[in-house]
Subunit: 663 residues, 2 copies
């Protein structure tokens, strides 16, 4: 900082929250969310300070102002609501408020019986100076106030006038222009559409839904799945890569290096003579078939998400057209993907560290824009942590410039800081470790990290109980109760969640021995799913998605609050809207094998529940109703029946009343 010989710019503004990495990255919000800003604001001495929060949409010129409130220990706060997508900016200004300080001193002196004539003159001078700045009628009115105070002939009336809210308001309208401290950065908010925060995804492989069992499915034949998905209440249909699949080193069933002639290969081995990332795998149909699929999906209120897997099969046209985009070995062979000693021969990485980086980056951007032009607004990005952060930051910014409604989901199962860094780079949503968090302590700690630390400002969790890559141990061994509890946890802890189906709703639990991979994985073969198999949980999924849609408390992740329970197998939490018009209490039995019971501590005070009267809790899963009272209440969950309650709390329904009306 330059130090001049001015001590009049006395107010310090520091320690702003939220501010990510010194303002280097944006915080994230969806339309309608609040941005609550806090800062340490203080000056030397004892003068009073006025502080205002400034904000604007980057497309507007004028700042909006919100007065900040002092809370405690020189900490101030104010908030604003973001109303449209794009980038908002915010900052703070503050100044020593000489007029309010003078008012306070005057009040004290007058109360103590000290003479105030000279004080009134000092105040009049302050008002006159302000009058000079004021335009229009305020100018004259302020001069009149100054004149009235100056006379000093009737202290009682004049002190009353000096302290009046009328004069205070008038002065407030004309803050000083000089010696105002302005925070040295404009911080930014990336505002996205509401689906960035609230969505239910369903992932499936179209090729498994052919005309007849065993036939390769197409976009046309797999349309039949759309009403099935929509009826279960999902919003998003996410498809694994839809591009031509390479032949060279194609993987056979169960990831075998020697495929059978009919093995379809992994959709992530992208590129063949039929084309690359802008082409459709011929066995799935044509581009217009795909577009018809997208339209049909929209008719069911389903949005289609595509998979961005920036890697190639050895047959990808890029290999011949742009050999400079790949790593070549001294023996003339191309460097395939590996994690020594493991080899992934069907996949070759793009070499971002090439001297021709600009052309490669532009090409990949053109891939995204190609599908954006076809109407796609959701991209699930495969393994983003294996490409440079700078690339994603550039790509996402470039795409959002013209298309702020495009959302990117980061599939980075890697070290926490790398996952968070990708979110800072611009990903709208992120896969998480939820998939492996099973115990009460693990879940509580993880949710605390995601929702109670600065991470919540830029990292939107997306909870997946399973994926085509991951069949967790818990689902392998826990049976139907495990699928149900993981479903309820994913869908209620996080407002974004997804399942890989139909493997999930059909309770598929057979894994490659000692691994968390599906046996006979759909990644390498066409499956024949029996959607009407009796052992399925479609009904519960449907119910859970209905509950999410009807209860706004479940449409955000930031409001989760864990409740005490005296049983470590019972995870309990509340979610509420800020006005408490919607209160949801979730209780999950984490033990898939045994009935668990215990006492849950309901925070009646926080929830403004009258502790002296019963209140109704309505289990939206089972339909059962209970009258509870006070904070300690008993729960018992038999996982063989249903391992969870999702209670809606009716604070004001009393036992003596008829409560049919809320059904």
């Amino acid at each position: 900082m330059e130090l001049d010989f001015e001590g009049r710019m006395r107010v310090v503004i520091e320690n702003i929250d939220p501010e990510i990495d010194q303002g280097r990255y944006s915080i994230k919000r969806t339309v309608g969310e609040l941005v609550s800003v806090k800062a340490d604001i203080y000056a030397d001495g004892h003068d009073l300070i006025t502080a205002v929060l400034l904000y604007r949409h980057s497309l507007h010129q004028d700042w909006q102002e919100v007065p900040m409130q002092l809370t405690a220990n020189d900490r101030w706060r104010a908030e604003f609501k973001v109303k449209k997508t794009g980038v908002y900016l915010y900052t703070i200004k503050a100044w020593v408020d000489h007029f309010r300080t003078w008012q306070q001193d005057l009040r004290e002196k007058y109360k103590a019986g000290q003479p105030v004539q000279v004080e009134l003159k000092i105040g009049a001078e302050l008002i006159e100076k302000t009058a000079c700045r004021a335009q229009g009628p305020d100018h004259e009115v302020l001069k009149q106030w100054a004149g009235a105070l100056k006379r000093g002939d009737d202290p009682e009336t004049q002190v009353e006038a000096a302290l009046s809210s009328e004069l205070s308001g008038l002065m407030q309208r004309h803050p000083p222009k000089k010696w105002v401290s302005v925070y040295d950065k404009e911080l930014s908010v990336e505002v996205e559409r509401p689906q960035a925060l609230f969505s239910a995804w369903y992932e499936f492989f179209p090729r498994s839904f052919g005309q007849k069992p065993g036939q390769h499915g197409t976009f046309k034949t797999s349309q039949k799945l759309l009403p099935y998905i929509a009826e279960m209440g999902f919003d998003v249909v996410y498809l694994p890569p839809i591009h031509p699949i390479g032949q060279t080193h194609r993987k056979g069933k169960n990831n075998q290096p020697q495929p059978q002639p009919n093995d379809p290969g992994s959709p992530w081995a992208i590129g063949s003579q039929q084309g690359g990332h802008k082409s459709i795998h011929p066995q799935l149909g044509t581009l217009s078939d795909f577009q018809e699929f997208v339209q049909k999906a929209a008719q069911h209120d389903l949005e289609v998400a595509l998979d961005l897997a920036f890697q190639c099969s050895p047959d990808h046209p890029y290999v011949k057209e742009h050999p400079e985009w790949f790593l070549w070995r001294p023996d003339g062979s191309i460097q395939h993907a590996e994690n020594p000693p493991k080899k992934y021969e069907d996949i070759i990485p793009l070499n971002i560290g090439t001297d021709d980086g600009q052309a490669l980056w532009e090409e990949l951007k053109s891939v995204v824009l190609f599908w954006v032009e076809k109407g796609i607004r959701l991209f699930r990005v495969d393994n983003p942590h294996t490409k440079p952060f700078a690339f994603w930051e550039w790509l996402i910014r470039e795409v959002k410039k013209e298309h702020p409604d495009v959302l990117f989901l980061s599939e980075a199962f890697t070290r926490p800081k790398v996952m968070y860094r990708l979110a800072k780079a611009g990903f709208s949503q992120s896969y998480t470790y939820f998939t492996w968090r099973n115990s009460k302590h693990e879940l509580q700690e993880y949710l605390r990290e995601l929702t109670q630390t600065q991470i919540r400002q830029y990292f939107r969790p997306h909870f997946w109980p399973n994926t085509p890559d991951i069949l967790p141990q818990f689902l392998q061994h826990g049976g139907r109760p495990a699928f149900l509890s993981r479903l309820v946890l994913a869908a209620t802890l996080s407002s974004n969640y997804g399942i890989y189906g139909p493997a999930f709703e059909l309770l598929v639990s057979e894994a490659v021995p000692k691994k968390e991979e599906y046996l006979n994985s759909e990644k390498y073969e066409i499956k024949n799913w029996d959607l009407s198999a009796p052992e399925n949980i479609k009904g519960v999924i449907t119910r859970v998605n209905q509950i999410r849609r009807k209860n706004p408390a479940l449409q955000t992740t930031w409001n989760v609050s864990f409740l005490e329970a005296d049983n470590d197998q019972l995870l309990c939490f509340s979610k509420t809207t800020p006005d408490l018009s919607n209160i949801v209490l979730v209780v999950v039995n984490l033990d898939p094998f045994h009935t668990q019971s215990g006492w849950v501590k309901v925070p009646v005070e926080d929830l403004k529940i009258d502790p002296h009267h019963p209140y109704l809790v309505h289990d939206l899963l089972s339909g059962d109703k209970y009258f509870w009272q006070g904070s300690r209440n008993y729960v018992e969950l038999n996982p063989g029946v249903m391992p969870a309650h999702i209670f809606k709390v009716h604070r004001k329904v009393r036992r003596e009343q008829d409560f049919d009306y809320f059904m």
Copy 2:
């Protein structure tokens, strides 16, 4: 950040600790202290990273490098020692280490029995590239290594060579020049002389030590106190302002507005016809008397600290010479200090917000430099929180430019953030709330804040049990035990501490009713202290200061670690040197009225004490010795005898041995 089309600068360096307010302020150290630096360092993908901490004294051009170590969760650390006063700079650089990554992959592939001929060629290319950068003999040696690997005729030998520490070390000496990430800030360390961290201050009023009782003391007559102070073991003699005292509105005894003719006035009402901040109060003597006093003090190894009180009496020469430096009221009177409805008519503040700010700031700087030229290197600054932060930041920086050995102590008893902000502005030491922290919980919480948070990086606490302004309730009512426990707490919790004497060692406890002010305060009258009064604690003070000097563990504040005790009246803590060669355990009975006893939990594992054998604890206050064993040990303190133990722990002295040697 600018985004170019380069993904090769892949390493992220962020979340550096220590870094104060985004590098805006320096951290502080004294000569010989360590700077331990941590940072999150990571990249996309799975390649290995090398990171180095860079540091240099600002007067040197070349950076020193320290390799950083990965601890956990992508957190790295390294440290360096500061060796001379002035400013050090530090930053971090890191890069993807392709050679080490290649070595790791080679090892895995070879272990798995995969062919490595091509791998060896790739490594040879990496080595050749490095050889091109290398100067001198390394150039040739690297080329030879590359040649040896390239041949690929004897994989076993070649893999062994490729992984050899010889080649690794050679490659490490020639890190890449391109695509190296360098942290975007150079952070700074303000390094001060050791006295900034370890000092014992004694404050007294020279005017109370005249030739005869009741006579105004002088620098000459008060020299007699120097051996007394030195014998008690203090390092610093701090004098209230020594400048001419104003007559106008001079305060009488007990802060009365109507003084008697002989009342000496408050030394903080600076300035009269005899001069201002660069003059000596005539009743104290001359400038040369003062300089002789400073020399005599030095002969007793005592440094003299002066009081910088940047305020004036109405008689200060500045008022006539520079009326523009003061605030004038509409009735032509000068604005005196006030905190409505309280008035301080004998003091008028300087108006830093004047249009002539530059001249005023320069004048105040010249005041400091005037006394620096007279040999003063310590300044206790009165009420710095009533002047702008920018002023202090400028002043301290200006003075330190030429005189890095000058230290400033901030006497800001105000809101915490203001106190901390002054420390950031450059104050070497700061008064604290210790004066009012009495309970175990309060003391532990406060020390945690001071030593376990970022605050420790820039705020050096200075603990005062009393000052001329403050006689705390606890000392008013707790008697001799209260003085003893507060002495031990101040002198052992904090490596900087001070007392206002002789009021402290003579146990003066009579206060203005219902206030924490001394009755018949020395601020307004000449006192006649009986230094040989039988009720004094000089002996204990002397002992405590000796203990501080002999035990390096007590010469820093950052190492305090509280121990569990099962009695809330017993405060227990340890202080140790990093190598555990000096271990001190302090136990204080906070209850001045009753004997308290309990069990203390000694962290034997941390202290590397063998839990299976007794170890000796030697109370350096009483001389008593005890054999303790394991973690739980009994203590009992009768405050009427001594409310504290200061144990030196002899880990290796066994009961069966003769332990006289360590006496």
